[in-house]
Symmetry: C2
Subunit: 731 residues, 2 copies
C-alpha cells in the first residue's frame, strides 16, 4: 500500500513538468528515422556498428563503478569516463533498436552511481581550485553529467518510477547540487569549464524534468542571467564568433554548447537558441574550422596540443548538429569525409547522404584570409589569418593580437605563426602536456607549460630584457589588448595587418606590420615583417623565430658551442633554451635558410647595427623530458627603439627521390630602411635585380588621406596607410 | 667528293657490327605497341604525358651545355643532369610519336657535347679519387653515358653518317676512353660506381655498334672477365641476391644493372643475362624490396638517406623491366600502385594493365621474415629481418651481421633496428648528407658522416672502451665478418637469430641473440635481446638504443644536466653526443618507456650490477648543423665479460583525439639470469604474473642434439640451441 502511494505521488510530481522522452539528444521520431535509414546508408551504418560493437562487448557483464582514486590516465578515471560513454551509446542503441538489453545496461550502471555518488567527497587526486568528486577535476564530472543525462533521457520510458527516483536522487542530485551550490562560483564563471557544467546541469534538468536545474543552467545558479548559457554565449565569443581561448579550446567548448543547445532546441524551441546573437554558435564553428591547418589540426596558439584535429568527436557532433539546425553546408563535407563518422541523428543521416551524392565533387574546406575580433563587444584586439595559394599549396600566416584568453592564454602579443602546404614553418610550441598519459602527471598540464610554453620567448614575437609580456602576470595581461592600426585582407596582391601594443611592456610601444605580398600569380607569397619599437631607454630586444626544419645555410659567421652548452638565460623561459651558436652580425643583412619537407625558407634580416644572432634549442632544465627539442633563431638588438625588418621567403623545391633542388637560394639580395620615424617607415628590398619598396604611414589614417614621401630624391604620393611598389609599379 | 668518301667509309665501318636501332632501350616494335596502347591505358598515358610535358618545354629552345664548373646542386651540375634526362626522354618521344622535333632536340644537344667533351679535363670541383669531367665525380659521368647512350640509340635512324661520326667521336669516345683507359682501375672495380661505368660504356657500345666497348663492359677493360658486368654480377651479390652495400645502394646499383642487362637481352639474347646466377638480378630486386619499411623507405643501415623510397625512378625501371623479362608478379603491384608511374615499355604496359585488372585485389607487398647471406659465396655473415604482424600492424626487426659493405659500410657489427607499423622505433642514423643541396657541401657526404654516422656509437650495438669496431678501420673491417650460431625464422611463435663476432674487438667475443616471441596470437611480439660478451680483462661496454619518440617514464632516478651540458666523450662519435642525463642503477631492473605515434615501447634492462645509464642527444661538435638531434638511451657496464639482457616491449595504445591510453605500462615485472656461462644462458622474465624462460645453448649444436639444464631444482631437456617456456609450456 505504501509502495503504491509513493508511485502515485511521484507520478504526479514528475507529471507537472513532464516532457515526452527521449528528447534531449533527439525525439523518438528521429531515432525511428535512423532505424529506417540504416540498411541503405553506408556511413551511418558504419558509425552505428562502431557504437554497437563497443557496447555489445559489455552487454550482460558486470560493469565496475569504482570508488574514485586515480588522476587522468589511471584506472578509476578511465573507467568512469568509459562508463559515461558506454551509457550514452547504449541509450542511443536502445532507442534505435528497441532492444531492452541496452536500456538494462544503462539502468544497471546508473543504479550503481546512485549508490556511489551520495558517498562522494572531494577526489583524493584533486589539485585544482575546482575539484571533482567522480574525477579529479570538476570539469570531468561535468562531462559525466552531460553524457549520463543524455543516456538517462534515452531510457526514461524503460524505468519504473522507483528507479527514476533512485537515479535522480542518488546519481544526479548530488552532482547537480555540488555544482550549483558548493561549486557555484565556478559554475557561474564565463569559462569553458562552466560551459560544460551548465550543459551538464541543463541536460540533466531536461532529462529529469527538473525545471529548476534548467533555469540555473540557462541563467546561472542565482538565475539572474549573469551566468549560465546565455551569459556564456554573450561573454565567451566576439561578435565574429571568435572564442576567447582560441581554436583549440573552441573545439572543446563547442561540444557542450551544441549538445545543450540541441536539447533546448528540442524542448524549448521558442528560445531560438541557435539564432542567439546572430547565430553565434554557427560563427564559432566556422571560425574554429578556419583556424585549422590542412591536416585538420587546430592552430596551437595558447594552451593547445598539436595532435588535435577536427576529426575529434566534438567536431563530429558540432558539424552534424549544425547541418541539422542551420541547413546543409557543402563546406563541411570535406571535413565530414575525413571524419568518416556521423552522429546517429537526423544531421548525421543528411551528411552521410550528401557525401554519397557529392562523392567526386568534394573540394577542400574553403580556407580564406580572415580577421577575428576578440572580446564580447569585438573591441579587444583579435586574430588574423592571412592566406595565399590554392588547395594543398596553401600558405597561412596567423597574426595574434587578441586579449589574454583566460587561464589558457599565453604571453604572446603580436605573435605570428606560419604554415605552408600543411607544414608548420614558424611554430607555436603549444602546451606542455601529454593528455591522457598517466605517467606524465596524470595527463595534466606540466610545470614547463607555465615556465616555458606560456612565456614570450617560446613564441615569435619580441621579448624585452628577457621578461615576458606583462611580466608574466595573467591578471595584468587580462586588462589590456593590442589595437589594429590598419588591415587589408582578401584576394589582393598585398595583404597586410598592422597592430600596435602599448601595454605588454611599460613605456614601450610595439608595432608590428605583417605584409603578405604576391609578386606574381604563380609564386609563393613573400612575407615582410616590419616590427617597430619605441621606448625611452635602451633595452635588450629579442625577436625569436621558432623555425621547423633542417638548417641549410647562414650567410654570417657564428660561433658554435661545440663541447659544452649553456642556457640562453635563467628565467622567463630562457632557462629552458640551449644556446647552440651565436653570432655578432656586422653586415647589412643576415640570411638564414632552412628546409622543411620539399621547400626552402629563408629569413633575411636587416642587421646593420651590431645585432646579435642565436641558434637555439629547447630542452634545458627539463628533468622529466617534457619538452620537445625544437629549434630557434633569435635576433637580438640592444638599443633605445630598434626596428626589426625581416623578409621571409618561401622558395624553391627539394625532391629527395630525384635528388634535385631548384631555387635553393633566396632572392633577397639587399635591404634598407630609407626612412623610419613616427610618421613613415620606408623599406627597400632588393630581390634579384628588382626592387620592392614598402611605404608605411605609422599613424592612424583614413583610406582616403593622402600622404607624400620623398624617396631618394623622388616624391611619391599614396593614400591610406601604405603602398607597395614592385619594380617601379604600385602593386 | 671528299665528303662522299668519308660517308661511304663510315658506313662500311659501322655496317660491320651494325644492329637495327632502336634496340638498347627497346626495339621499334615495342615503341609501336606503346603508341597503340596510349589512348586506352590511363597510367601509361599519364606517364607518357609527364615526359611529354617535361620535354615540350624545351623543344625549339637553345639548350645550354655549359662548361663544367659546379659541384652537385650547382648550376652546371644540375644542367648536365637535366640534359641527359631530357635527351633520353626526347629520344623515347621520337620513337613513340615519330615526331622529328624530338630527334632534332637530341641531336642538337649531342652535337654540343661533341664539341665540349673533347676539351674536358678533370672537373674543377673533383675531390674524390675518381674525378669526373662533365661532373665532379666520374660516377655522374657514367650516369650521363647510360642515358645519353640510350637517347642516341633512339635517334640513330634520324642521323646522317656525318652526324653519327661527329657524335661518336666527339661526345662518346672521350668519355669511353677516359673510363676504360685513364680511369681503368676504377672501371674495373667490383663496386656500384663501376656498375654504372660498365653500363654506360656497354650501352654506348650497343648504341654505336662498338663491339670493343661492349666487350670491355662485359669483361673489364682487359677483357679478362675479372671486371665488367659478369664479374660484378658474381662479386657484388650473395647467392641470395643480397647486395653487399645494403638496400639503399642496391636501389642505386640495380638501375644500371637492369638497363644494361635489358639492352644486352635485346641484342645478345644468347647471353641469357637475366638468368645469370639463377636469376640473381631478380633476387636482388626482391631482396631490396623486402628491406623496405611500410612507407617504401629502404632500411637505412650503412650510408643511406631516410627519404629514399621505392618510388624512385630506379625502382620504377627495375620493376617494369623485371615484369617484362621474368614474367608478371602480383607482389610488385602494390608498389607499382604507389609509384603511380610506369616505364614507356612493354613491361610498363603490362603493369598498367594489371593494375586496372586487379584494382581492388591489390594487397600489400608480401613482407616476410627473411635471412640474407652476404659475400659472393654467401659465407660472409648476413642480414636477417624478423617480422610479425599483418598488414599495417607489421613489426620488423633488422639484425645486421654482414661484412663491411665497401666504402659505404658502417662499423656496426650485430646492430639491430626496429620498425613498427611503419614507424622507426630503434633507428639507424643513416648517412649525414643532404643530397642534391648545394649549400651542404654540394650534396656530398658531410664530415660528420665519418665522424659520427659511421661510428659504432651511432648504432644499436656494443661499443667497447669508446672505440668503434675495428678501431674504425675499413681495411680491417673488410677482412672479417660475424658468424651465425643458429637461426629460426618464419611463422613460429619463437623466431631467433644468434650471431657471434670475434673480430670487432681484439680478444673480445660479442654474442648477440635476438628473440622475437609471439606470446599470443593477438599481441605484439616481445623482443628479447641477449647480448653476451667474453673478454679477458675489464672494459667499458656501452649498449646504446637510438630510440625515436617521446620520453614517457623511467623506473630509475637519474641526474639531469639542467643548466649546462657536456659531450659524452671526445672521439669515435662520442664527441657528437650530448649527455642530457645519467644514472647509476642499483635496482635489479631498469625500465624506460617512450611513446611513438600511438604506441608505447618499453626497454626493460637487467641492471643488477652497478650499471650506468645515459639519456643522450646527438648534436655536439656540429658547427654546420648537419646532424639531426636524435635521442639515445645508453646502458653502460664496466666488467670483464658483462651480459646485457634487455626486453623490448611494444605495448598499449595512445589516442590523442580521444585522449585515451590503454596498457601504458610495461608487463615486465622482473628479470633474472639464472645461468650464464660458456654452455648455457637461462633468462627468466616475469611478465605480470607469468614467467617466460629462455634457455639457450651457447655453442654450436645440431637441431637434434639433446641438452639438459637444471632450473631451480628442476631438470629440463631440450634439443638444439634453445627452448622458450611460457607459463610452464614450451612455445
Amino acid at each position: 500500500m505504501r509502495r503504491l502511494g509513493t508511485i502515485i505521488l511521484l507520478f504526479f510530481t514528475i507529471h507537472l513538468f513532464a516532457q515526452k522522452h527521449p528528447i534531449a539528444y533527439a525525439p523518438k521520431s528521429d531515432f525511428q528515422l535512423i532505424q529506417k535509414e540504416l540498411p541503405q546508408n553506408r556511413l551511418l551504418r558504419q558509425s552505428f556498428n562502431e557504437i554497437k560493437t563497443s557496447v555489445d562487448e559489455w552487454v550482460g557483464k558486470d560493469i565496475d563503478v569504482p570508488i574514485p582514486k586515480d588522476p587522468a590516465g589511471g584506472y578509476t578515471h578511465e573507467k568512469h569516463k568509459a562508463n559515461y560513454q558506454l551509457m550514452f551509446n547504449s541509450g542511443l542503441l536502445y532507442q534505435i533498436t528497441g532492444e531492452v538489453k541496452y536500456a538494462l545496461l544503462v539502468k544497471t550502471i546508473l543504479l550503481k552511481y546512485a549508490k556511489l555518488n551520495p558517498t562522494l567527497v572531494k577526489h583524493p587526486e584533486a589539485t585544482s581550485t575546482s575539484p571533482g568528486r567522480i574525477f579529479w577535476q570538476a570539469l570531468n564530472d561535468a562531462n559525466w553529467l552531460v553524457y549520463t543525462g543524455l543516456a538517462y533521457d534515452c531510457i526514461v520510458d524503460y524505468l519504473t518510477p522507483a528507479e527514476k527516483k533512485q537515479i535522480v536522487e542518488g546519481a544526479f542530485n548530488p552532482e547537480v547540487n555540488y555544482f550549483t551550490h558548493d561549486m557555484k562560483d565556478w559554475f557561474n564563471l564565463i569559462h569553458n569549464h562552466a560551459v560544460w557544467a551548465c550543459a551538464g546541469v541543463g541536460i540533466v534538468g531536461i532529462a529529469t524534468d527538473n525545471k529548476e536545474a534548467i533555469q540555473m543552467a540557462l541563467y546561472g545558479s542565482n538565475k539572474d542571467g549573469k551566468a549560465g548559457l546565455f551569459a556564456q554565449l554573450k561573454g565567451l565569443f566576439s561578435p565574429d564568433g571568435y572564442y576567447t581561448e582560441g581554436p583549440y579550446y573552441t573545439r572543446y567548448a563547442i561540444l557542450p554548447f551544441y549538445l545543450f543547445a540541441n536539447a533546448l532546441n528540442n524542448t524549448q524551441p521558442e528560445l531560438h537558441i541557435f539564432s542567439e546573437r546572430n547565430s553565434i554558435l554557427k560563427k564559432a564553428l566556422d571560425g574554429a574550422l578556419q583556424q585549422t591547418n590542412l591536416n585538420g589540426g587546430f592552430y596551437t596558439y595558447n594552451d593547445a596540443l598539436k595532435d588535435k584535429t577536427y576529426i575529434t568527436s566534438e567536431m563530429v557532433s558540432a558539424i552534424n548538429i549544425a547541418w541539422q539546425v542551420y541547413g546543409e553546408n557543402p563546406a563541411y563535407l570535406p571535413i565530414a569525409k575525413v571524419q568518416n563518422k556521423v552522429l546517429l541523428s537526423k544531421g548525421g543521416i543528411a551528411i552521410a547522404n550528401a557525401l554519397i551524392k557529392q562523392k567526386d565533387a568534394i573540394a577542400m574546406f574553403p580556407y580564406k584570409s580572415i580577421s577575428f575580433t576578440d572580446g564580447a563587444k569585438g573591441d579587444e584586439g583579435g586574430v588574423s589569418v592571412m592566406r595565399s595559394g590554392k588547395e594543398n599549396q596553401l600558405t597561412s600566416l596567423i597574426f595574434k593580437y587578441s586579449s589574454h584568453g583566460l587561464s589558457h592564454g599565453h604571453f604572446d602579443k603580436l605573435n605570428i605563426n606560419l604554415f605552408d602546404e600543411g607544414n608548420e614553418i614558424l611554430q607555436d610550441y603549444g602546451a606542455v602536456r601529454f593528455i591522457g598519459i598517466e605517467q606524465k602527471w596524470g595527463g595534466r598540464y606540466l610545470t614547463e607549460n607555465k615556465t616555458y610554453a606560456h612565456q614570450t620567448i617560446a613564441h615569435n614575437t619580441i621579448v624585452v630584457d628577457e621578461k615576458s609580456h606583462f611580466n608574466g602576470s595573467e591578471e595584468e595581461s587580462s586588462k589590456y589588448h593590442p589595437n589594429e592600426l590598419f588591415t587589408s585582407l582578401g584576394n589582393n596582391k598585398v595583404q597586410v595587418v598592422s597592430v600596435i601594443d602599448t601595454n605588454a611592456y611599460k613605456d614601450i610601444q610595439l608595432h608590428r606590420s605583417i605584409y603578405m605580398i604576391q609578386l606574381s600569380e604563380s609564386s609563393k607569397p613573400l612575407i615582410v615583417d616590419l616590427f617597430r619599437t619605441k621606448g625611452a631607454e635602451a633595452h635588450q630586444y629579442d625577436l625569436p623565430y621558432q623555425y621547423t626544419g633542417d638548417f641549410i645555410a647562414a650567410s654570417f659567421k657564428y660561433k658554435s658551442f661545440n663541447n659544452s652548452q649553456k642556457t640562453l638565460g635563467t628565467k622567463n623561459g630562457y632557462q629552458h633554451i640551449w644556446k647552440e651558436a651565436e653570432a655578432v652580425s656586422s653586415t647589412p643583412i643576415s640570411q638564414f635558410t632552412f628546409l622543411n619537407h620539399s621547400r626552402y625558407y629563408t629569413i633575411s634580416s636587416l642587421t646593420e647595427d651590431s645585432t646579435h644572432l642565436f641558434f637555439t634549442r629547447v630542452g634545458a632544465n627539463d628533468p622529466n623530458f617534457n619538452l620537445r627539442r625544437y629549434a630557434g633563431f633569435i635576433i637580438r638588438k640592444q638599443a633605445i627603439s630598434p626596428t626589426f625588418l625581416n623578409v621571409i621567403e618561401l622558395h624553391g623545391n627539394f625532391n629527395a627521390n630525384m635528388e634535385l633542388s631548384t631555387n635553393a637560394y633566396p632572392s633577397v639580395k639587399g635591404m634598407e630602411l630609407l626612412q623610419n620615424d613616427d610618421d613613415f617607415s620606408i623599406a627597400k628590398i632588393k630581390m634579384d635585380n628588382k626592387f620592392l619598396v614598402i611605404i608605411q604611414y605609422n599613424k592612424a589614417s583614413t583610406p582616403q588621406t593622402k600622404h607624400s614621401v620623398n624617396i631618394q630624391g623622388k616624391s611619391i604620393e599614396f593614400q591610406g596607410n601604405y603602398t607597395v611598389i614592385w619594380d617601379d609599379k604600385v602593386l
